[in-house]
Structures are given as structure tokens and as C-alpha cells.
Amino acid sequence: MPANPGKYHISQRANQLSPSGIRKFFDLLASIEGVISLGVGEPDFATPWHISEAAIYSLEKGMTMYTSNSGMPELRQELSSHLRNNFSLEYDPASELLITVGVSEALDLAMRALINPGDEVIIPDPCYVAYGSCVILAEGVPVMVPTHQENNFELNAEDVEARITPKTRAILIGYPANPTGAVMSREHLSQIAEVARRHGLMVISDEIYAKLVYGVEHTSVASLPGMKENTVLLGGFSKAYAMTGWRIGYAAAPREIIAAMTKIHQYTMMCVPTMAQYAAIEALKSGEDDVAEMVEDYNRRRLVIVKGLCEIGLSCFEPKGAFYAFPSIKSTGMTSEEFAERLLTEEKVAVVPGSAFGQCGEGYVRCCYATSLAEIEESLSRMKRFIAKYG
């Protein structure tokens, strides 16, 4: 990475991080009027009111102090029940759970707690933009494993095994996946788990989209036989409960790992904002109906966008989770960045170039369908015009 010898001697650590491909894109987006954005990966719903109201009430009652570093005991208790009821997972609220500032912080903590300089971490390509950088910040080495549309963008166990070296320490996966919407079948996930166990690798599993699946079941890695000891489960509230701005998530892992992560957390973050923790308690206690309703809504939009994309000639595999469609734009002969840039300037529809998520994302664009049906339909008709011109 070319270090930039500026006036302030920015650290190598910061300099080596490549600016996100998405960032560049959003800068351009901000300068154009009338854009329909399928760009940002966040729910278009506001947080369900009873959740916001619980936080407001906590403020009114003056609950504005720090909480325990690991998170409020009541929240960890609720979370423990939630994990049991939803994913058949048993985690001790006192020692195996840590409340974090989103999955974002949990990812960083997991890496810093487990990775020594030079350790390799296997990551599927394409993947969420933060994975590689989190590994690099922990002085680890990301090792990318290509995934393909033909295999529904699932991570293949043999491909993983082929990249294991004596330095490999962990496999970092995130299914249901951003940017592809792929879900790992129980069978394929079990194969990954098998490889991890055989080679003594940790699986760090970002399951932030666990609740957003359509017609399939989400399998949590840690629920597979013998995998709890080898898994760091990361989960959150941002996507399922439409709480992106609250900044709260969690890690669930064996006691020793949670202890190590908590040490880093207590010196860097202290604790998660108290009001967000009150909101999260309410979400866990009585947010299930809201989630179900939003999932029903996302599902309708998913069906509309996938069919629409296929009809205008962009082949699109059926995403079974999250809220992204990941159509191939190879038929246009453009790179994904060219495609996204031209689509934005010529038809005012914002999608994210697949290349922002890794080499294997080239030839695809990410369309987030967490936006109104009317906007989805309008963007489809604009894209149709665009494809007619270049397809």
C-alpha cells in the first residue's frame, strides 16, 4: 500500500487501509438530485415505536449512567433466552455474552482477541467491506476464498481446506450474506464446521442477518454438534429491528474468549450507550411481531426486485436472506464500477459496484431492496431503459 507521506505522519496502520469503494460512490451520489438509492444497506423502517419509547422512558427516569462493561445483566439474560429460543444456543449470560457497539465493534474485538501478527484468517469473497480491514487492523492476513453464483455464493469447504496453512487461525463468515443475500445450507455449513474442527480453527460467524431469511431456516454455526467451543457468534439489532443508529450488538463465545474481548472493550469502549441497552431489552422482550412483519414486507420486495431484474436481462440468483439482490451485469460488458457510475449519472439509480466487496464481486452490483415498492419499481424501469441502451 503506498504510504502517503503527509504533514501529519499518519500511522502505517491507518495508511494501509484502502478507502472503501462504497465511500467514493456515495460522494458522487450526494451531488446528484432525484436519485433512487438501492445503495445503503439499512432498513427503511424506523425503529418500532415501543422500542424507541422504552429508551425515552429510561432517559426520563434518569438511567444515564455507565452500565456494567459487559452490558446490563437484564439485557444479557434476555439475550441468552433469545438465543436459546431462536437458535437452540446455550450461553451463560454472566460469562459468555458481551454487549458491543454493533457487530462492528464485536468484529474488531474478536480479531484483536484471537489474532496474532501474521495469523491468517479465511474469508469468503465477496464479503462485507469491513472483514478484511478488521483482520488487517489486528495485524492478521486476510486470505480470500472465492465464492460463485453457480454455488449460490456459498462458501465451499474444499476451497477453504485448500487454503489452510500452519498460520491459519480462523474462518470469518457472514451468512446470510452482505452483499449477495446468500444463505448457507445446514449441510454446507456443517462441512465448513467439520474442516474448522479438524484443523483446530475458530469460526467467527457474523449472523447479523439471521432473522432476515425467506422460506429457509437460518442455521447458527454454534448450534452444530461440537461447534460452540469453536465459534465466536456475532449478532446485532441493527438489521432485524431496524436499529442501525442505536449502535448495539453482541458477541457470544466461550468464557475465555469473551473475557479477552471484554478486556479490550472495557479499555476502548467502556460500555454500550445505556439508552440503547434499554431499547435492546424491549426489542428482545417484545419485538418478534415487528420483525415478522418487516420480514414479510422485505420478502414481497425481494420477489419483485428479483423477478424484475431477471426480466430486464440481468441474471440474478435468488437471494434467500438479508435484503440484497446481487445481479450479474456481465452481459453489458461493463465493469461493475462503470455500470454503477453510468447508471447513477444517466438514470439516477444508485447501486453498489460488486467490486467493492472483493474481486469475486466484479461483474455484479448490489441492490438493496430495503426501500419502498414504488421506488423499487421505478428503479427497475429506469434500469430497463439503461439496459436497452447498453445490453
Binding site: R23, F26, V40, G41, E42, N299, R300, V304, L373
Partner: protein, 160 residues
Amino acid sequence: MNKEILKILENDARTSPEQIATMTGISPKEVTNLIKQAEKERVILKYKTMINWDKVGNEQVSALIEVKVTPQRDAGFDSIAERIYRFPQARTVYLLSGAYDLLVLVTGKTMHEVADFVSQKLAPLEGVQGTVTHFMLKRYKEDGEIIEEKEETKRQQVVL
């Protein structure tokens, strides 16, 4: 009857059979048939548009009228309710438990018009013991829709 289709239409009556077909996996033809059937069976009562008349300066006066009635032999509350709901001024009529029996939403162009309706048509009806009229001052939310202008939550630039 397919509830999924009804939910979609309740939320947006303009959703086309083709769109509904995409969202439910039922064929467009079958969707059209199911909708026709629902209309015939009066599961779907009608398609209407919610309008914020205040915005076009077309002020309406509405009042909620509590009506205490004497139930009739054999017909209970139904016949007196019908006498009331046949008036086009009565937009909504409910039978309630509690301190009074019927709740009637009346709309008119002026307060006078509404008051006249109550005093000349509603109150004198045989079986009506008494009425209490509440004029509506402000509508905050109707049929699940918040009426005040939604402020666009502006998404800020974020990398994710």
C-alpha cells in the same frame, strides 16, 4: 380467501394482479379470480383513497356522537342502528359496551350542519334517549396513517 392478497391490497389498493402474483407466487389469473371472488363475497368492500382535505383548504367538520338508546324487543340495537346508519351524514357507526351504546361519526361542511343533523334527525329518533356531541379539533392519525407531514429522514453518508 387468501389473506396475503388482502393484506397487500389493504396496504395499497393499486397493486396490480401481476405485482401481487410476483409477491405471492400465485398466478396472475388466479389472483384476479380470488380478488373478484372477494369482491363478490364483500370481503373486499370497496377501494378508496385517503385524502388529507385540510391541505386543499377544504375544511370539513366532524363530530363523534355518543348515543344512548333503548334496545328494541326482537331487534336489539340493530334496528335503531340501521335507522341511524342509513343517513349519509353518519360516516361510521359502532355499537359499544360501556356508558353509552352507539358511537356515530358525523361529518358536515359546517358546525351548524352537524349540530342540525344531531338535533333534528338523530336525537328525536324513537328509542334515542340522549346524545353527547364531541366536535373533532384535530386529526393526528387515521387508519394507521399519521397525518402530519412526515419529515424525510435524511440518510447520511455511511460506508457499509
